[in-house]
Symmetry: C2
Subunit: 332 residues, 2 copies
DNA sequence: TCAAGCATTTATAACGTTATAAATGTTGTC
DNA sequence: GACAACATTTATAACGTTATAAATGCTTGA
């Protein structure tokens, strides 16, 4: 009889237990003013009645939403990125009193809009977003507003909570692996320059190149965010040159697959003419043939860490104590 | 000065416009009782002040949450499934007054729990979930409760809103393609039998097999949900047999990649000894070498369609008018 | 001119919770 | 036995909105 079901309120708990509504409220909030005996009795009655606090009422009264907002980028080419990240996030938030809401801004839109909307209308207690830029206006805005947030990616502003993958180390390790295989003319498919992580990755690449005395190339005309067929065709052309690269760094799986196609279609043989090191964020390359040398980035763990950091920040932790740099894990 | 910012309420709009709060409320709700002139004036003032209704207050008063709950399965092997689906969902919901919340149940847990929790505590106005079983208790519960929901996948219960991909057609087309290539000993990696879509796919497979007079095989000991290395090793063993299959149907990308590895490691040549048809839900096979024959399933479109259906159902549309069967689209 | 009828607006209460201030009971001290 | 001091409980109001019922002003017809 679900339609005759009446959701029990504090009033019901009060009537059954014989205490006032206020007392029930305080008891359930573990207010130390309430006598232990009373607290126990009220907790018992609440349990029996199946009382669950009404979020809307709590939210209206206190201003706290118990909501964490995930602001996603327009769905792009990063394979399974959002899915894994969300999954890690959900695992941590489950079991707390918080909920996750999702917002996705459209391609042409100002990424600032959803953030401002959430803050101004108190739609959440904290915000998470990814793909930061060095002078990210979202970060600046949230810091000014004193609003809890955690970013996936660093910025030039030092004292906020962030999680980042060490892309400088990624590039360095990738170069080292290729050099160890005897490669000396390396090419990296760079991320879009406006993202902070692109700077790290490129700087790691360039430093490692210099250290090992090999040549490094950042291609013109395409990047990690380009359509995969564009990466494919430009790379194929490049691989037709006499001075073609003999080592490729692909910081993404779709780019790696496009690269493998370009290599094959250019008539080159992987492992003989050229080698590839790719970043791996999913299972795609676990059993792939030809075998691909990969360096892992654990997106699920990122989601978990970010969620934990945000919950801590909402509970009052200082943002600059909530910074995690994740080191690359070697592939299989 | 974000901390001195006062979120404008109907009271503010009322004071500035000179009308009563009630009138403001009605005007903003487009109540026909309100004079057109008044409505316009109030709308103008609300706009100027940047008034946005307080969801918590609306929710407390009306019981409507303006929330749509996405209940996700534990993050599994389906590549990018959640990500694309969520993305399509978000695109549709953006611009409406609805929000999306995410819940994910853990592996060992009763999938019913989050659903019951949402319904009993009115945490949302509608629910979406995937991977239905023929006698899905979640569907039964929600129908009994009269709670709006849309499933990804059908059930035995006819009159609820659902979206489904025509997996019977998928299997049929896959068989036809392999037969057209001269293959006659086909093997399909079946989905877990408990899901409704497994029945459809298997029945499509078996019918097509019979029609074309070829042999069909559903392997024992592994399925689409098995760990990929298990699929790989069992398939490799099977491909070592004398009576090995010469055509493989892989209804998932990770399974397809594992299969390709098994084929290669068994010493067989794709296109000569054996052919593969795979279901494609991401970009992985767009530029893959070797080229893979795929049949598309557009997860993003699924998300969009499901979101639209749910919004309609919340607005009162009859559930049995909200059923979509998506036909397979040929791969590249 | 007055009442009836209509169009429009408004006062009041309520949703379920918690912050504030007030009230009650209990103990100890002189 | 009175009073202060404390521990504990409670009444009241408020968060911002909307449903209900009441009130206002204006038009119309006699």
């Amino acid at each position: 009889m679900p339609n005759t079901f009446h959701k029990p309120t504090q009033k019901d708990v009060a009537e059954v237990s014989g205490f006032a509504v206020t007392t029930v409220s305080r008891a359930l909030a573990d207010d130390p003013l309430i006598a232990e005996k009373t607290r126990k009795r009220i907790a018992q009655v609440a349990e029996e009645l199946g009382y669950v606090p009404d979020r809307a009422a709590q939210r209206l009264r206190t201003g706290r939403t118990h909501v964490i907002a995930l602001v996603l980028d327009p769905h792009g080419e990063i394979l399974d990125f959002s899915g894994s990240m969300i999954s890690g996030f959900a695992e941590v938030v489950r079991g707390t009193k918080y909920h996750i809401t999702l917002t996705q801004h459209q391609t042409g839109e100002d990424p600032m809009d959803p953030i401002r909307h959430i803050v101004r209308n108190r739609l959440a207690d904290g915000i998470v977003f990814a793909r930061t830029e060095p002078d990210d206006p979202r970060v600046q805005y949230l810091m000014d507003a004193g609003f809890p947030f955690v970013t996936h990616g660093r910025t030039r502003m030092a004292s906020h909570a962030w999680y980042d993958y060490d892309n400088e180390a990624f590039a360095r390790i990738a170069v080292e692996r290729l050099v160890a295989k005897g490669r000396s003319r390396l090419l990296i498919i760079p991320p879009l320059a406006r993202y902070t992580f692109a700077e790290h990755m490129v700087s790691g690449f360039e430093r490692a190149i210099a250290e090992h005395g090999v040549t490094g190339e950042l291609p013109d005309g395409f990047d990690l965010n380009a359509p995969s067929d564009e990466i494919y065709s430009k790379l194929k052309t490049r691989l037709g040159d006499a001075n073609r690269p003999d080592g490729l760094i692909c910081p993404g799986e779709i780019a790696a697959i496009s690269s493998l196609a370009a290599i094959e279609d250019a008539g080159l043989v992987l492992g003989t003419d050229i080698d590839v090191v790719a970043k791996q964020t999913s299972q795609v390359f676990d059993l792939h043939r030809p075998r691909i040398d990969t360096i892992h980035e654990d997106i699920n763990a990122a989601g978990q860490t970010i969620a934990r950091a945000l919950l801590q920040e909402i509970d009052g932790a200082a943002p600059d104590t909530l910074q995690t740099l994740q080191h690359p894990r070697p592939g299989f």
